[in-house]
């Protein structure tokens, strides 16, 4: 079953990459669709980020004040805005998380 879903999702993903290169569809997507698709990365990635930061993985509850992940994430956002480097952001974020977990 899992293989079936994997392959189906893989085929769909390939189709999204290939369909405009094929001769099946000759038009560009309409402007409204192109505009909407432009927001996909921001919407999807933010939707993954926020719960991963705010929900404590151990207790599965929302944590704000005593949440080392939140502080580490804020530091990571600042790092990302300043350096624009993925690896530095991961490094700073993880280091901050480890430090805070050790302190708290």
């Amino acid at each position: 079953m899992i293989w079936l879903v994997m392959i189906a999702a893989g085929l769909f993903t390939f189709a999204t990459r290939f369909i405009m290169l094929s001769n099946i569809i000759s038009n560009r997507p309409p402007p409204w669709l192109a505009d909407a698709l432009g927001f996909v990365p921001i919407a999807v990635l933010t939707a993954i980020i926020v719960p991963a930061v705010l929900i404590d993985p151990a207790s599965q509850t929302i944590a704000l004040g005593d949440n080392p992940r939140l502080f580490a994430a804020i530091l990571a956002i600042v790092t990302a805005l300043v350096t624009r480097q993925v690896i530095t952001t991961i490094g700073v974020g993880l280091a901050a998380l480890w430090l805070l977990q050790w302190l708290m």
Binding site: T13, P41, I42, V44, L81, Q85, G93
Partner: protein, 316 residues
């Protein structure tokens, strides 16, 4: 077109003349034009060349008329200004893509670790990297599947996340459509966020060449190779990494690194805030469908603000 085709072939560096140019009386590559019978590949190439827009005033290859005297005084072969060869385009693609690998390889490692951690088998985790070949969608697939979410929600979430590739293939279409089908299939498969971002710059901002698609092949193959190797590595070392390292936190960190710098307009912010809020509000929903809800809600919010908030005057 004949001249352009010949220029493209000699430009490929396959058959540079062994005879010094001055022996041939300034006619640089006389033998080659007749030596090669036009095979199917070259006919395709000619077709491809005739499709791309070229400034008519400037031929692809300008062969300077050389005299024997010039050759003797300079002592070196005067290199003609030539189109970039397939090999040159390929390596340019690899080189341009390299800086992005510093973000891709850690992400691949983390995905490998996370895939196994969330309950996929090693083989499933590794093959997911070549079947889906899209970081965010693979993470979502692994996490949703591990949570026992129904298949149609898993599939639907992956599809929404990967819909954005339509934009990439649409932008690439004018450059890649003239290629033979097998090229388009291969390049379509390799068309990821990172490879697109790098190679579209070459297509748009550098003069067209008969082998320009090799640039995408180079950037795409480097990315693919790095992604597969780092996934495998992550799967292998994942078992030895203790839970207390909280390495799964590297996933949201990676996404923070991607999203934070691209939040520029009010509509971007609307999309992010809506998606983030819906992701939290939707947590009690069954089947982890909060992700689908938040993604669609965020896209809609961004689109609405963009649509109804287009400034009449340029703010700058």
């Amino acid at each position: 077109m004949q001249v352009h085709l010949a220029a493209g072939l000699t430009g490929s560096g396959l058959n540079l003349p062994a005879v010094p140019p001055h022996v041939t009386n300034g006619n640089l590559y006389p033998a080659q034009r007749s030596a090669r019978p036009p095979t199917r590949f070259y006919r395709q190439l000619a077709k491809f060349l005739s499709c791309i827009k070229m400034r008519p005033s400037r031929p692809l290859l300008h062969l300077p008329k050389r005299t024997a005297a010039m050759a003797e005084t300079s002592g070196t072969s005067l290199a003609p200004q030539k189109t970039r060869s397939a090999r040159a385009e390929f390596w340019a693609g690899v080189r341009d893509e390299t800086p992005l690998m510093f973000g891709v390889i850690p992400f691949g490692l983390v995905f490998g670790v996370l895939g196994v951690e969330s309950g996929l088998s090693a083989l499933q985790t590794i093959l997911l990297s070549s079947i889906l070949f899209g970081g965010a969608s693979q993470v979502v697939f692994a996490q949703l599947w591990a949570a026992g979410v129904p298949a149609f929600i898993v599939g639907g979430s992956v599809c929404v996340i990967n819909m954005r590739h339509l934009l990439y293939s649409a932008s690439m279409a004018i450059y890649l459509r003239p290629l033979p089908l097998r090229w388009r299939i291969l390049l379509g498969y390799l068309l990821t966020d990172e490879a697109f971002a790098i190679s579209i710059r070459r297509f748009q901002h550098q003069p067209p060449g008969p082998f320009q698609h090799f640039h995408l092949l180079g950037s795409g193959l480097l990315l693919w190779t790095g992604w597969q190797i780092s996934t495998i590595f992550g799967v292998v070392v994942g078992e030895t990494i203790p839970e207390s390292w909280s390495l799964s936190f590297a996933i949201p960190l990676t996404f923070i690194a991607v999203v934070a710098p691209i939040l520029k307009s009010r509509s971007d912010l609307a999309a992010a805030v809506t998606a983030g809020s819906l992701a939290m509000i939707g947590q009690p929903l069954p089947w982890n469908s909060w992700l689908l809800l938040a993604a669609i809600g965020g896209i809609l919010a961004g689109w609405l603000v963009h649509h109804f908030n287009q400034p009449a005057v340029d703010p700058a």
